[in-house]
C-alpha cells in the first residue's frame, strides 16, 4: 500500500478532536506549513499541541490558537507568539513549559519505548515543582515523563516512496524525534523520489516510522511563506 497521499483531507484524516498532536519546527523553520494550514480548515478541537512554540501571532499554529482549537500547549518557548500569553491570562489554554532539551528528549524516549528518564536540567528550579527528585552517584536528577502522541505532523526535505526521510540543514530540529513518538506520522516533503534513490547512509528517519507522505504546497523562502 502506498504511503503517498493525494490531498490534505487524506493526510489529516487521523487527527481527531481531543488528540495529542506533535508539530515539527523551530519557529517556521522545519514546520509542516501545509499540514498546519490544513488543520486550520479542519473541524477539530480540544487538541493538545506539542511543539517548540505555538507559531507566531496569526501565523502557523498561531491561527489554530486563535480559532480556539488548542486546549493545551506543551513547548519550550511560547514567547514567540504574544497571543499565547493573552489566552493563558483569560484561562482559555493550558500550558506546560519544558526546557528545550527535555522537550526533545521526552519525545525521543517516548518513541524508544521508555516511560521516562532522569535529567539534571531544571533541578532546584520552578520547573521541577511536583517532579520526583533522585540522587544518582551523588548528583541530583528529576524524573521527566516520556511524551507519546496520537499524531505527528512533520516536515522533511525528501522522502522516498517507502517513507525514508532526509532533512535539510536546521529544518531538521524536532522532526526526526516526533517521527518516533506518535501512532500516526504524516510528513510533508519538498520532493518524493523512488525507493533506492536516497543514499542509505544518509537516511535520518527510516521508513518504519512513517505512515503518510504529502508533497508540500507551502514553503519557507527568503520572502516568507509562499505557495508552490
Amino acid at each position: 500500500m502506498s504511503k503517498i497521499l493525494n490531498n490534505l483531507n487524506e493526510a489529516l484524516s487521523a487527527v481527531k478532536t481531543g488528540d495529542t498532536v506533535l508539530v515539527g519546527g523551530f519557529g517556521l523553520v522545519g514546520a509542516p506549513l501545509t499540514l498546519i494550514d490544513g488543520l486550520t480548515e479542519k473541524d477539530v478541537k480540544d487538541l493538545t499541541i506539542v511543539s517548540n512554540n505555538l507559531g507566531e501571532s496569526g501565523k502557523g499554529l498561531g491561527i489554530l490558537l486563535n480559532q480556539n482549537k488548542i486546549k493545551k500547549g506543551i513547548g519550550s518557548y511560547f514567547t514567540s507568539n504574544r497571543d499565547v500569553g493573552d489566552k493563558y491570562q483569560k484561562g482559555e489554554i493550558e500550558l506546560e513549559l519544558l526546557p528545550q532539551g527535555t522537550l526533545a528528549e521526552s519525545m525521543r524516549a517516548g518513541g524508544a519505548g521508555l516511560g521516562g528518564y532522569y535529567t539534571t536540567t531544571g533541578v532546584g528550579t520552578d520547573l521541577a515543582k511536583g517532579k520526583e527528585e533522585r540522587e544518582i552517584d551523588g548528583v541530583k536528577y528529576i524524573f521527566e515523563k516520556a511524551i507519546r502522541a496520537d499524531v505527528a505532523l512533520i516536515r522533511a526535505y525528501k522522502a522516498d516512496t517507502l517513507g525514508n526521510l532526509v532533512y535539510y540543514k536546521t529544518a531538521r530540529n524536532f522532526n526526526p524525534l516526533m517521527a518516533m513518538a506518535a501512532k500516526t506520522v504524516i510528513v510533508e516533503v519538498d520532493e518524493i523520489v523512488e525507493a533506492g534513490e536516497l543514499d542509505p547512509e544518509a537516511i535520518v528517519t527510516p521508513f518504519i516510522y512513517v505512515d503518510g507522505i504529502i508533497k508540500a504546497q507551502q514553503v519557507l523562502t527568503k520572502k516568507g511563506v509562499v505557495n508552490v
Partner: protein, 213 residues
C-alpha cells in the same frame, strides 16, 4: 563616561571583552543578544560555534547567501563553517547536557553573590519561555554571563540574592558587564577586571552583591 554610552556600544564593548577569554580549540554556544555579538570578535579560527537548533559550525553569512532554512537559535540567518554538521534537537541537547560543549555564553536578568543566575522568568508576568537556558546551565563546562551592570532604572542586577526565579542551582564561571568582569571562585564573586572608563568606586556603587577585589 560609561553613563553616556549608548546600548549598542555597550553591548559591543562587553562582547569584545568576552571574546578575549575564548581559547581554541573549543565548542561554544552563544545565546541571544550580547552573546551573539561575541562571534564578531573571536580571533582564533579553531573556535566552533554550536547552536541548539541543530548545527555545530555556525558562521556568518553574506546577504546574498541567506538560506531561510539555515538559522541560529535566535532565528537569525547564519552560514555553515568548514567541518559543520547538522543534527536533531535531542542530539543537540545531548551535546549540551552531556558536557560536550566547552563554553555557554548567556544573558541574565540577575546574578546573585554566589554566582547563581535568573534569566528566564519575571514574577507577576506569565512564564512563557525557557528555551535552552536550563540545559546550557547544567551542562556546559563553563558558563559566561553577559549583561548590563544595572537595569534601565539604574538598580543593580548583581544582587545579594536573586528576586526572580533562578535558572539553575549551578553557579556560573564569569560575569561580564560594561563596568567590570567577575570570576566566581568558591561561591564568591571576585572582581578581575575593570572595563575601559570604569572606576572601582562606580562598580561598588552599582553592585549590591558582595565581591572581593
Amino acid at each position: 563616561m560609561t553613563g553616556t554610552m549608548n546600548k549598542t556600544d555597550m553591548q559591543h564593548l562587553i562582547a569584545e571583552r568576552v571574546a578575549q577569554e575564548l581559547k581554541g580549540p573549543c565548542a561554544v554556544n552563544l545565546g541571544i543578544g550580547i552573546p551573539t555579538l561575541v562571534a564578531e570578535y573571536m580571533k582564533e579560527d579553531n573556535i566552533y560555534l554550536h547552536t541548539e537548533n541543530g548545527l555545530l559550525g555556525v558562521t556568518d553569512v553574506e546577504e546574498e547567501d541567506i538560506d531561510p532554512n539555515l538559522v541560529n537559535a535566535g532565528k537569525l540567518p547564519v552560514g555553515e563553517a568548514v567541518g559543520a554538521s547538522f543534527f536533531n534537537s535531542s542530539d543537540s541537547f545531548a551535546m549540551i547536557r552531556g558536557g560536550h560543549v566547552d563554553v555557554a555564553i548567556l544573558g541574565a536578568l540577575q546574578v546573585d553573590e554566589t554566582g547563581l543566575i535568573a534569566n528566564w522568568a519575571v514574577p507577576g508576568k506569565n512564564i512563557m519561555g525557557v528555551g535552552g537556558a536550563m540545559d546550557l546551565l547544567v551542562g556546559a563546562k563553563k558558563v559566561f554571563v553577559t549583561m548590563s551592570h544595572t537595569s534601565k532604572d539604574g538598580s543593580p542586577k548583581l544582587l545579594k540574592e536573586c528576586t526572580y526565579p533562578i535558572t539553575s542551582t549551578r553557579q556560573v564561571d564569569m560575569i561580564f558587564t560594561e563596568l567590570a568582569v567577575f570570576e566566581v571562585v568558591d561561591s564568591q564573586l571576585k572582581l578581575v577586571d575593570l572595563m575601559p572608563g570604569a572606576t572601582i568606586e562606580e562598580v561598588r556603587e552599582k553592585t549590591e552583591a558582595a565581591f572581593t577585589e
